[in-house]
């Protein structure tokens, strides 16, 4: 009897929600015609501190010494600006996007696969770079990129970048490889002993390999795939699915696999290689000749930030040479501020390892960008596949 009473109520509730949804149809239509960006105001000045700032960041980006006593650049900021920093560590780009939509955060350290979604969704506001004096020292290669600049407006303050390298365990791979082929080709010597990144964005890695091996497909950017090109990438990834031992999406899991030799070779981040080496694992990395995908992170400010003054203060503070050097060394990436490569031997050595100012190196690296229907390579005669198509394809690839 209780159920029979509850059912009409539930039906009524869902009906009203459906009706409410009819108005939302227009918004979805507009997104299919191109990147429509909500017009949001930009801050004009930095005023008094609000007393706090809420940040979603990758692990290691916002440290107050509680995880590692040597990593602390938050305390000085809090003292200097009277802005208390509340940090939330995000595990994946998708989670960060979801958290930013909760409206409870002022800043996010967005990677390129998240940033266009945040911009188009009206979740982040354009940035007034005049209010960030340190913006001027950002390396050229990171300014005005497709994933954080739209219609001439800048939405992100670069933090750092890195490449998705080929890592291998020297116990099992004697000779340094120079190609991604062992990860993709059916006749590989490492069947069952390879590892791939577990995310739809990994489809771009297949596209990078196809750019080099199947030029007939006409791929000019791994993030602008029409249906035919996506199908070719999916085909390649399905072949790979038969060859990989496992997929990873947790960096520590990747460290344990490559370090122990359970996996002989795989796609990974430089920081994984460093951690594995730190544990005594015989792990090396290389940027193969076909090029690679990579990522670049930027600070983005929430469109409805409750603490914009503290947020701007943080963006400037974190972009200063010293702090940017600390963040990038703690995380294991190339710093965004060119001056972060100077001042000490450690800084110079770090930038050397991560090719921080080596634009030739990063020319081979395709930075993560959200795939959208409007092809980011500039083609207008076709519709490209979007990230949701990629997500569906990814499920299919993994079977």
């Amino acid at each position: 009897m209780k159920i029979s009473k509850a059912l009409p109520l539930a039906a009524l509730a869902s009906l009203s929600l459906v009706l409410a949804g009819c108005g939302g149809g227009a918004a979805s239509d507009s997104s299919s015609t191109g990147i429509q960006v909500p017009d949001l105001p930009t801050a004009s000045e930095v005023g008094e501190s609000e007393g706090q700032v809420n940040i979603i960041a990758w692990a290691g980006f916002v440290e107050d010494g509680s995880t590692n006593p040597d990593a602390d650049w938050v305390s000085a900021f809090e003292e200097e600006t009277k802005c208390q920093v509340n940090r939330k560590v995000g595990a994946t780009s998708d989670e960060m996007v979801q958290l930013m939509r909760s409206g409870e955060y002022d800043l996010v350290s967005a990677s390129g696969d998240a940033s266009l979604r945040l911009i188009a969704g009206g979740d982040v506001a354009p940035i007034n770079t005049d209010l960030i004096p340190n913006f001027g020292n950002i390396v050229d290669g990171l300014k005005g990129q497709v994933y954080d600049t739209l219609n001439g407006k800048s939405y992100g303050v670069p933090i750092g970048r890195g490449a998705n390298v080929l890592m291998y365990n020297t116990d099992h791979v004697a000779e340094a490889p120079d190609s991604w082929a062992p990860l993709w080709e059916e006749d590989t010597d490492y069947a069952g002993k390879t590892m791939a990144y577990d995310s739809p964005i990994y489809i771009a890695d297949a596209a990078v390999y196809l750019m080099a091996t199947q030029p007939d497909l006409g791929i000019t950017s791994p993030y602008a795939l029409d249906e035919e090109q996506l199908a070719a990438a999916v085909e390649l990834l399905k072949t790979q699915n038969g060859l990989v031992g496992e997929y990873w999406n947790d960096a520590l899991k990747a460290v344990s696999s490559i370090s122990s030799g359970t996996v002989h070779m795989g796609s990974g981040w430089q920081v994984i290689v460093n951690l594995a080496q730190g544990d005594g694992g015989k792990v090396e990395s290389v940027l193969p000749k076909e090029g690679a995908t990579g990522w670049s992170d930027t600070w983005m400010i929430a469109a409805e930030s409750k603490n914009p003054n503290c947020a701007y203060k943080w963006m400037d503070y974190a972009s200063s040479a010293e702090v940017n050097a600390q963040i990038s060394q703690n995380f294991g990436m190339a710093p965004a501020n060119a001056l972060a490569c100077e001042g000490s031997e450690a800084n110079t050595a770090h930038c050397e390892t991560f090719h921080a100012t080596d634009e030739e190196y990063y020319k081979q690296v395709w930075m993560w960008t959200t795939p959208v229907e409007q092809c980011v390579d500039g083609r207008t005669d076709v519709t490209c596949t979007n990230y949701q198509d990629w997500t569906k394809a990814w499920t299919e690839i993994k079977g």
Binding site: G24, V97, E246, K253, K392, T395, K398, G399
Partner: protein, 308 residues
């Protein structure tokens, strides 16, 4: 005269106890005594509110979300009715295979747990000394004391190449299965074994020894006694245990990520869609619900639900 008039007014010691009859609590209890329906409502208001609003309510919300769609670009949820998510789950081979694979894994875990619980329960209930019985009971429930992630990660190490399992099997000229479906089944069976072993052991204890004696007197061998006497009596316990092992295996995804290698299960598909396409994740989330409801329906026929 004055004395006589005054005697009733100072309250007697007994009367002072009876006096709070008019306190709010007392009036409430009288009111509840008079109205059985209000009494029942008062008793059940809190648990039913919890069950209905939060517990079932979130399930209903999930079900409603499954009919919505997401903006393909911003991946924001758009509340507009569509059956697309369900059609996709039914028509895309990858989803079908994932669902079937997960059900297969859950059944394998259940069978493995049952196969281990039968001899162990028999030994504990009928053969072991009290001291041994206590030691085994602790052994079975021991894993429940440790953190889930710790247990899963230690299985990850166990199955790693050159790890403890490979080392154990090396003298036999064998190697472990490595990460994959087999490792996943073993890990899940480990995680959920107590939920099978405890009801089976309890059921064994409730079988009178005289039944075994009678069976032996009638000439039955040990195994035919087990199969013809014990197992039918244990059936409800096995079904009750299997509800736990089966439904818990169906929903797990962390173990799959750590020891499953590239094995995709319902949980991992939901996890990979939960941020990008929540309606699809919600729609896929109804698959285990439907499977478990069907399972419970079958279990009810066996009378096992009375054991819970």
């Amino acid at each position: 005269m004055a004395v006589i008039q005054e005697t009733p007014s100072p309250p007697a010691p007994g009367a002072s106890q009876a006096h709070p009859r008019n306190s709010p609590g007392d009036r409430l209890s009288r009111m509840l005594y008079a109205r059985p329906k209000a009494r029942l409502a008062g008793l059940l208001l809190l648990p039913l509110g919890w069950l209905g609003v939060l517990y079932i309510g979130s399930l209903i919300l999930l079900f409603i979300t499954a009919f919505w769609t997401t903006d393909s670009f911003t991946s924001k949820v758009i509340p507009a009715f569509t059956l697309e998510n369900f059609i996709e789950i039914i028509t895309v081979p990858a989803y079908q295979q994932t669902a079937l694979r997960t059900i297969g894994i859950a059944l394998a875990v259940t069978v493995l747990c049952a196969a281990l619980a039968l001899p162990l329960g028999l030994y504990m209930a009928k053969v072991a000394s009290p001291r041994m019985r206590a030691a085994l009971a602790i052994g079975i429930t021991l894993p429940l004391w440790a953190g889930y992630l710790v247990k899963v990660f230690s299985w990850r190490i166990t199955f790693s190449s050159g790890g403890p399992l490979d080392w154990l099997l090396a003298p036999l000229g064998m190697t472990g299965p490595g990460y994959g479906t087999a490792a996943l089944i073993v890990t899940l069976a480990y995680l959920w074994f107590p939920y099978m072993a405890v009801p089976v052991y309890n059921a064994f204890r409730q079988i009178p020894d005289s039944l075994f004696d009678a069976s032996a007197d009638l000439g039955a061998k040990a195994w035919s006694t087990v199969w013809t006497v014990a197992v039918p009596l244990l059936k409800p316990a096995f079904v009750a245990g299997s509800i736990f092992t089966f439904s818990l295996s169906l929903g797990d995804y962390i173990a799959a990520q750590f020891v499953g290698g590239k094995t995709q299960v319902i949980g991992t598909v939901i996890a990979s869609n939960i941020n990008l396409n929540p309606p699809l994740a919600a729609a896929f989330g109804t698959v285990p619900i439907i499977v478990v409801v069907l399972y419970l329906f079958l279990a009810r026929k066996s009378g096992a639900l009375k054991q819970l």
